[in-house]
């Protein structure tokens, strides 16, 4: 069994990692379909931001209940990965509890602690399932979650419970064998000791088999999960870190000035001005499709974990308007996936896309004008997002397309534009009266 199981283990790990790497490459390519934006300034402030917001979960705990249980899962996930590392070493080298030989009593304490963490993860997952299906937290019931997103969330929670269950069962089985002095013991198991009774009446052989089975199940489960995650909202476990790192450091109210518009405006305002050498007028204004957004907008889309804190504080959403910032992020991601798959399909068919991918659809087929025009740009969504996603930035760029490319602003806004052009004010007042207020 020895060498054969090592080979099988290595094969599963290799194939799993290879498929995972392919998916990561696909996502990375998709993100870089977006427009350039330099976000490399001030690395020390960025590291600080990442340590505080992503690693420190500082925005998660603003909602204490969800925040607390999320930290249970987060800490559990991060620390139990040390045990996963050991599983990988054991699997490849054919050892058993590799670290135990090196760490001695520290190992025993760690294993016991991991059990408590695993139990914490199970509790948190149960609480999260209850929040979705029993107490029905409003932000977890909104329209955009119907169908796949809700299933996705449920699958993740159930899988985490099952994986932790396998870990605990494995330890319990081991303990049975240790008690019979058939195996070397490693301290006490504070949680799984209560599961030992489950094995009463089992033969030593079956207990041993169950112990191995749980070990293999845990490992294969992890590999399968690894390949599920990047197709899921759960992908935030990776993306949160770079996404928070690259959050623009400027104030939230500071919206990007479009430099291609600056050039155009300068040419327009000064008749004597000459266009710079090699100047080409912009091909389009604002965001028609995902490629017109910045790479950071697209990274935001892949980072969204659909928690809905944004929509639960959105003034438009909370007063019954169609707009939901979460849906804007989900739509952006879904459209980006569609574009990415389209580009790959064309390449496979031997007709690679030259220039821009076109399929008769765009981001506006996903996000309607009614949604876009309901935004007050109040930034409550961006503030609430635990991983610094900014839906407002996407909404405004899509408005730019509606206005500058399609001239499709609501008529009242067109009136406002006209007033601005003619009177230098959004209302119909004469600019010559601008100082009349001083005479009350």
């Amino acid at each position: 069994m020895g060498i054969l199981s090592q080979v099988i283990f290595a094969l599963i790990l290799g194939i799993g990692s290879w498929i995972f790497a392919g998916r990561v490459k696909f996502i990375r390519r998709n993100i870089f379909l977006g427009k350039e934006q330099d976000l490399s300034d001030n690395p020390s402030a960025r590291w600080k931001q990442m340590l505080w917001v992503a690693m420190g979960q500082s925005k998660m705990v603003k909602r204490p209940v969800a925040g607390f249980f999320h930290i249970l899962i987060y800490v559990g996930f991060v620390l139990i990965n040390i045990e996963v590392l050991e599983i990988l070493i054991d699997g490849l080298l054919g050892t058993h509890r590799f670290f135990a030989h090196y760490l001695g009593s520290i190992y025993d304490v760690a294993i016991g602690f991991f059990e408590i963490l695993a139990f914490g993860v199970v509790v948190a997952c149960v609480v999260f399932l209850a929040r979705r299906f029993v107490t029905k937290v409003p932000r977890l019931q909104m329209n955009e979650l119907k169908g796949w997103p809700m299933k996705d969330a449920t699958i993740i929670l159930v899988v985490e419970i099952v994986l932790m269950g396998a870990l605990l069962m494995m330890n319990a089985a081991e303990q049975v064998l240790v008690n019979k002095e058939l195996m070397e013991g490693h301290g006490s198991f504070p949680v799984s000791q209560y599961l030992v009774g489950f094995f009463s009446g089992f033969s030593d052989g079956s207990v041993h088999m169950i112990e191995r089975l749980c070990w293999w199940f845990h490992f294969v489960g992890i590999v399968v999960f690894l390949n599920y995650v990047p197709y899921s909202k759960h992908w935030h476990i990776i993306m949160s870190f770079p996404n928070v790192y690259y959050t623009p450091l400027k104030p939230k109210g500071s919206f990007e000035n479009l430099d291609y518009v600056t050039t155009e405006v300068k040419l327009m305002m000064d008749p004597a001005a000459q266009p710079p050498d090699g100047y080409e007028p912009p091909a389009g204004f604002g965001a028609k499709d995902v490629q017109d957004l910045t790479w950071k907008n697209l990274m935001d889309a892949y980072t969204c974990t659909e928690c809905g804190r944004c929509s639960s504080v959105c003034p438009a959403n909370q007063t019954g308007k169609l707009l939901s910032p979460r849906k804007v992020m989900m739509d952006t991601r879904d459209r980006l996936e569609e574009v990415g798959r389209g580009i790959d399909a064309a390449k496979k068919a031997g007709t690679p896309v030259e220039g821009r991918f076109e399929d008769g659809k765009d981001l506006h087929s996903y996000v309607s004008a009614e949604e876009l025009w309901a935004c007050t740009t109040c930034n409550a969504c961006a503030e609430a997002c635990p991983v610094n996603i900014n839906p407002v930035d996407i909404i405004v760029q899509m408005r730019q397309y509606q206005v500058m490319e399609k001239s499709a602003a609501p008529s009242e806004l067109n009136n406002m534009f006209t007033n601005l052009e003619n009177n230098g004010a959004p209302w119909q007042f004469n600019q010559m009266d601008k100082a009349n207020w001083t005479q009350g």
Binding site: P251, K252, G253, K321, A380, M404, L413, G424, P426
Partner: protein
């Protein structure tokens, strides 16, 4: 309640302030300390005009040499930018920058958080580099420096709630200056549940002020005003002309306009000046 504030409206409506423009200063060979960017609401909206006058009076009392641009001031372009008309925004911005750079403007104060945000954050890359402060910040500065003195007076013991505007609050992280100003008065400042970073929008931002809201089951300002009224405050303090309109409309919706006043912090301060 309305009676006790009757003096207030009379007082403000009849107030005329003498304000000099940048051009006046230049003609007299002088340089003002600061430019007061009045903004379109502060210039044309009757309610906001009162705030402009109150604030001018404060500046005068503090002995601040300030100027306005008067007819040379155009909209900052904020509503055009948020509505997606980047062309119009940049045209407005460049015209304003030309005027201000021509006058050598260094420091700007404005009573509108939208103007504040745009001037401070979006003008620099277009060539307009100024130190921009919001009027609540400047008032706080004048109080701290002892150039201005206030006392509770008419507001003494009054329950006041403060509504954070999005463009001063979340957009620029300014939550404390307005509160510090009000804490200097002998008032009972009560916070709404959604305040500071979680403050709820009045519904006017992002160019919503200039259009009907999309279909929904409630107006945003009604939602917010309801929360403000629940605090039991007699006064809703604001820092933005648009919030002022929206919250005032909200009090009308609940038929509370005779009992609850919506006042800009500049108005509260102006009526608390030590003579």
């Amino acid at each position: 309640m309305f009676q006790s504030f009757g003096w207030y409206w009379r007082n403000c409506n009849s107030m005329t302030v003498s304000v000099k423009t940048m051009a006046d200063y230049i003609a007299a060979g002088e340089t003002p300390e600061i430019l007061f960017w009045v903004g379109c609401a502060g210039s044309y909206d009757e309610r906001a005009q009162r705030v402009s006058r109150a604030f001018s009076n404060i500046l005068e009392k503090a002995g601040v040499k300030f100027a306005i641009l008067g007819v040379e001031e155009g909209c900052t372009g904020d509503p055009a930018k948020r509505a997606g008309n980047e062309f119009l925004f940049q045209m407005q911005a460049m015209q304003n920058i030309e005027v201000m750079n021509g006058y050598g403007v260094k420091r700007i104060v404005t009573a509108c958080p939208h103007c504040f945000n745009t001037l401070k954050n979006e003008y620099p890359t277009l060539g307009g580099n100024y130190e921009v402060v919001h009027h609540t910040q400047l008032i706080n500065e004048l109080l701290t420096d002892g150039r201005l003195a206030i006392e509770g007076g008419a507001f003494s013991g009054k329950k006041i709630t403060y509504h954070d505007s999005c463009y001063l609050g979340r957009a620029n992280g300014i939550y404390e200056a307005p509160r510090m100003v009000m804490e200097k008065l002998d008032i009972d400042l009560v916070e709404m549940k959604r305040c500071k970073t979680t403050g709820f929008c009045c519904g006017a931002g992002g160019a919503q002020m200039f259009k009907e809201a999309e279909k929904g089951n409630q107006e945003v300002n009604v939602n917010r005003t309801e929360e403000a009224l629940q605090t039991g405050a007699e006064i809703i303090a604001v820092n933005c002309p648009f919030c002022n309109t929206m919250m005032r409309d909200g009090t009308k919706h609940f038929e509370k306009e005779d009992h609850v006043s919506v006042l800009d912090i500049a108005e509260i301060v102006n009526d608390s000046l030590k003579s």
